[in-house]
């Protein structure tokens, strides 16, 4: 059963026609990997889902409801958390304040659900360690952990993450993979853009490959991983 579905989505950015009829399905409870070369339209797809770029044509449905015309806050309010490629960390706020902002129901940090916070601290110890520190002073890996932690500070139905491994050291990437595996096990649906194909292979249940603003392949990650010719043709590399 699909939680998120894109049908024939076209997006224009200024004078550029970037997405040319994207069809994509994110099944409920699964981790869907969105992969493709640079400039394939992956980030634009995520931003279009979040309403940050407007749908010119086509339909995006979430839980069966058409969200194509909704504003970004309305879409987020339906239970979608988004971690952009830039991470979107508020550098001048503390780690705790960043978390408080994402906890929409909490007025103070003390109002954030304690057991959920303890779970997040276990997944991302840096969030607890640097709680009172300015987020802008964290390392790249710590910022990425904070960005994901912020996205899950309250239960969300869908987690959309853009390139979580970008620029991270291998050890941090392994931590991130473990964290996403645990998130997936908790039942949350995840749509993840990833350039690091090893990261994608270890986590993905299904894969969607984009090229030139279109989806050129979708299917199970296991089948995609086993077909080296397909990978080479679509991504220009071997796993």
């Amino acid at each position: 059963m699909s939680l998120l579905e894109l049908r024939g989505v076209h997006t224009h950015i200024g004078i550029y026609h970037v997405l040319h009829g994207v069809d994509l399905v994110a099944p409920k409870g699964q981790l869907t990997m969105l992969v493709g070369r640079n400039g394939a339209g992956k980030t634009t797809t995520l931003r279009t889902i979040m309403g940050l770029w407007k749908v010119k044509q086509g339909r995006i449905s979430f839980g069966g409801e058409d969200v194509s015309k909704l504003s970004t806050p309305q879409i987020a309010g339906l239970g979608i958390a988004y971690v952009p490629e830039t991470m979107g960390i508020f550098a001048d706020l503390t780690v705790g304040e960043n978390m408080l902002l994402a906890a929409r129901r909490a007025r103070r940090t003390q109002d954030i659900n304690g057991s959920r916070l303890a779970w997040i601290f276990r997944l991302f110890p840096a969030v607890e360690k640097f709680w009172d520190y300015p987020a802008g002073k964290l390392s790249g890996g710590q910022k990425q952990m904070l960005a994901v932690a912020r996205a899950i500070v309250e239960p969300r139905d869908l987690l959309i993450v853009d390139e979580p491994s970008k620029g991270l050291a291998p050890a941090i990437i392994d931590n991130m993979i473990d964290a996403f595996a645990e998130l997936k096990a908790s039942g949350v649906t995840i749509l993840l853009v990833e350039q690091n194909i090893h990261f994608a292979q270890r986590l993905g249940d299904s894969v969607v490959v984009m090229d030139d603003g279109r989806v050129v392949h979708s299917g199970s990650m296991a089948a995609f991983s086993a077909d080296t010719q397909l990978q080479q043709r679509l991504l220009g590399l071997e796993l």
């Binding site: 979040m50 940050l52 504003s71 970004t72 806050p73 987020a76 309010g77 988004y82 952009p84 979107g88 508020f90 550098a91 001048d92 706020l93 503390t94 304040e97 408080l100 902002l101 994402a102 929409r104 007025r107 103070r108 640097f130 009172d132 520190y133 300015p134 002073k137 912020r150």
Partner: protein, 327 residues
């Protein structure tokens, strides 16, 4: 790695004051000028504080902010004009009882007009700087003309209530009572703003929105509503500043907003976009510079604040304490 407090900008105000002491020569005169400069700075800060948040939060260049200043001052002439018994009294308490409703009325009217200004003039030009400059300046001109229609083009007196006139002697220095009141009002406004920004969720949202409004929206908050709230609050504060500026000058003219506008933008640029602390420091520097140069080299006074702005920007090109980044 904990939050480092940037002390250097705070030292600018006492440094400027101390630098001016040998130039002024006389300690009582220096003291009087310093209090006058700080009081003027506080009034300018009250006016500029809302605008810097509007600037930082939505990247909106509102050159029409001055109209709220003039409107606030004119509303005060109406209210205080009806409270002659209270303003003529020698009792400071009775005077403040008269000033308070005038201030509240000025803030309410300026805030309400700010709401309409945002809806009719600013909203259609979000994200278009050139159009923002042109249309908000146009709004300012229309506002000025409407004030002339309602109150006439001539100067109207806004005398200080009797108990707030005169000065206190402190040694050989004379400190005007009203300037102390202006200083106190500025400190109060800064305190309320600082507390709201630091301790409340709304404040947190404003601080986050100034840094990255798209991410705030992605977290599920409607930043446009927040912006409207800040715009209205900023307009109301400009109305309050207008009352204080009018009482400081003891008269109002339709062009007063336009005259103060230049100072406000200097303060915002010196302070750094979106920073209330930066705006406070910038406003105090502007107030002190205007008073010292006005006393020492009156012919330079007009350009002194421009020179101050250039000096600060040479030191910190994004202003003293920028919160919003260039977009």
């Amino acid at each position: 790695m904990r939050r480092d407090f940037d002390w250097k900008p705070l030292l600018l105000v006492p440094a400027l004051a101390l630098l001016a002491l040998p130039a002024v020569g006389s300690l009582p005169t220096w003291f009087t000028l310093t209090i006058a400069g700080l009081a003027m700075g506080m009034i300018v800060f009250i006016i500029a504080s809302g605008l810097t948040l509007v600037f930082g939060l939505m990247d909106v260049l509102n050159f029409g902010h001055g109209v709220f200043i003039a409107l606030g001052a004119y509303v005060a002439t109406l209210v205080l004009g009806c409270m002659g018994d209270w303003t003529q009294s020698q009792s400071i308490i009775a005077n403040l009882v008269a000033v308070l409703p005038a201030t509240v009325a000025a803030m309410l009217v300026a805030g309400a007009v700010g709401l309409a200004f945002e809806r009719l003039i600013v909203r259609p030009v979000y994200g278009q700087h050139l159009k923002q400059i042109l249309i908000t300046m146009g709004g300012m001109i229309i506002g000025e003309e409407l004030i002339k229609v309602m109150w006439g083009p001539d100067q109207i007196g806004l005398p200080l209530p009797a108990g707030l006139r005169g000065s206190w002697q402190w040694g050989d220095a004379a400190i005007e009572k009203y300037r102390i009141m202006a200083l106190a009002a500025g400190v109060l406004v800064f305190g309320v703003l600082a507390w709201t920004l630091a301790r409340t969720k709304i404040g947190l949202l404003i601080r986050a929105g100034v840094q990255d409004r798209e991410m705030v929206e992605s977290l599920g908050y409607r930043i446009r509503i927040l912006f409207i709230g800040v715009f209205v609050a900023g307009s109301a504060l400009a109305g309050l500043g207008g009352v204080m500026w009018g009482l400081y000058q003891e008269n109002v003219i339709p062009q007063m907003g336009n005259q103060v506008n230049v100072l406000i933008f200097i303060v915002i640029i010196i302070g750094g976009l979106g920073s209330t602390t930066g705006a406070l420091i910038g406003a105090l520097l502007v107030g002190l510079t205007a008073n010292y140069t006005g006393f020492l080299v009156p012919k330079v006074a007009l350009v002194s604040n421009i020179a101050l702005m250039v000096a600060v920007l040479l030191w910190r090109p994004e202003g003293i304490s920028p919160v919003a980044r260039s977009r």
